[in-house]
Amino acid sequence: MKTLLTICRAVLFAWWAIAAAYGADAADKVTLATNWLAQPELGGFYQAVADGTYARHGLEVTIKPGGPLVNNRPLLAFGKIDFLIGTNLIQPFDAAKQEIPTKVVAAFFQKDPQCLLSHADGPWKTWDDLKQAPLLMGNAGRQTFFLWLHDAYDFPRANLRPYNHSLAPFLNDPRAAMQGFATAEPERIREAAGKEPRVFLLADHGWNSYSTVLETRNDLIAKNPDLVQRFVDASIVGWNTYLDAEDTDAADVLIKKDNPSMTDGLIKFSRRKMGELELLRAGEAKKLGIGAIDIERVKSFYAKMVAAGMYQEGEIDPSEAVTVEFVNKGVGVE
């Protein structure tokens, strides 16, 4: 009897020890830092946290939001975070130029939601009209897409006006134009002024950068490609759910918790626009799955940025700023 009890104890202990050990390395802890405050434009990642998709892929994910004047980028190279959402392909090009060992592993927005806005009742009705408008633009825009606007469409530098994420200067002047995200600012402006502004998507005029790109460190790709693959796959699943599900409350609750200024109205508008404009499922992403990357397109965008004066011809090999190792596999495609 006594031996039986001992055996039982031993078995129980072994079972407990195995369970504990399994539990301990069942989930890899990773941190994803984003480029902005929590918002529906990052909804797929929040969705994958909220509905347990990351957990099912063996990941315990913490999201570290960005925001105005927050620069999460150095944390990636430094190893304090594992994944970073970048705004477009320019900073990955810079990383290649500065020999920072990071890479883009997935491109979530096939079309950049970056747009120019003019008043619904204002004088600027077409893309070409905008060249005459005083153009509210922040520092980041001036150093990136404005250089392209200037090179490709002769937008004059003299028209630039300061922009600090406040709508006030735009609302104050019917002749003003401003930068914005097609998924957010039109609704913010409608809430403030009653009418949706005219929206001009840069992507419709040749700005072919991917947006909301996922970046990670080269050493993580080399040492633990399985982890990177699981993170990419789970994020794609999260995005499919966030775009298609009737009910995304679980993700939206997390978004609103991280960013209390986010309203249900803005979330609804943003989700609708991401669908309507096919931001995530444009072109080849329809066949290859969300996150798809086409190296030729990366090269074409680089060539445009060279023309805009941001880089020297041949200064970097743009295909080294990205890798297609983890995408184009049809994950989540019916």
């Binding site: 130029k97 150093q143 003299a158 406040s166 104050n172």
Partner: protein, 264 residues
């Protein structure tokens, strides 16, 4: 200041600086830190030389904003101080608003200052922002100085029926001068901080970007050596300004004021 104290004044901080830079250089090399995380001082120096064509003009833009804002801070700070010192009621009624101006975060009000001043006048906007940051110490210290006149001397001037001008030139100005100068010392470098911050919050002047623009761009492009190059020019400006203000203060006070006499 005699020769020995001059040597200490210049030599001691220079020695500390050289030691710190050497330690920095050695540590970065030893730890093999990549330059995008922390460049060595020698990398920063060579970046300054290599990028001088862009850094030099940007430096001048920031310097100009700083100096004009400082001049405005002196003129308006002293004028307001005179007004405050002229009557307790004026001072008590207005000082809270001066404090309000001092503590309001520039980042919050900058978009509105841009609208009020007019978005074509970017430089004027930056000037006003830098002035807001810089003027308070001059106002506060000079007011204090004007109030600190020896009551005995005040009575003496009344007794001899001194004119307003005599009172100002011979009594008020000398009493307030040391206070004003210590305010100026603080304000001068606040004007520098203000000029840089103003450029961050109002967007750069399109054709004449200053050092804040360099810092912003280098951050965006992950060009850490260039960022440190811009930061070291700002530091250099601050150090030179500090010593210039010390020198001015010494020059004006050495004959008579306790704070400077001891250093002979």
């Amino acid at each position: 200041m005699n020769e020995r104290s001059l040597w200490i004044r210049i030599g001691a901080p220079a020695l500390v600086g050289a030691l710190l830079l050497a330690a920095w250089e050695a540590w970065v090399r030893y730890a093999e830190l990549p330059k995008y995380i922390l460049p060595t001082p020698s990398e920063v120096a060579s970046t300054i030389v290599a990028q001088w064509a862009a850094l030099g003009p940007a430096w001048m833009v920031t310097l100009k904003t700083m100096l004009v804002a400082l001049a405005a801070a002196v003129v308006l700070g002293v004028a307001l101080a005179a007004l405050f010192a002229s009557s307790r009621i004026v001072e008590t009624s207005l000082f809270p608003y001066a404090v309000m101006l001092q503590v309001t975060p520039l980042v919050a009000v900058a978009p509105f200052i841009v609208i009020w001043i007019g978005w074509e006048r970017v430089w004027l906007t930056q000037l006003v922002c830098a002035w807001i940051v810089a003027f308070f110490p001059i106002l506060s210290n000079t007011t204090m100085g004007l109030r600190s006149v020896d009551p005995g001397l005040r009575d003496l001037f009344s007794l001899y029926d001194a004119s307003r001008w005599q009172r100002l030139r011979l009594l008020l100005a000398p009493s307030a001068l040391p206070y004003f100068l210590s305010g100026l010392k603080i304000s001068a470098n606040l004007a520098l901080v203000g000029a840089v911050v103003a450029e961050f919050v109002t967007g750069t002047q399109v054709d004449n970007p200053g050092l804040a623009s360099t810092i912003f761009t280098s951050q965006l492009n992950s060009d850490t050596p260039l960022m440190f190059a811009a930061l070291s020019l700002i530091s250099l400006t601050g150090i030179v300004t500090f010593f210039a203000m010390e020198g001015l203060s010494h020059l004006l006070l050495r004959r008579w004021h306790e704070s400077a006499i001891g250093e002979r």
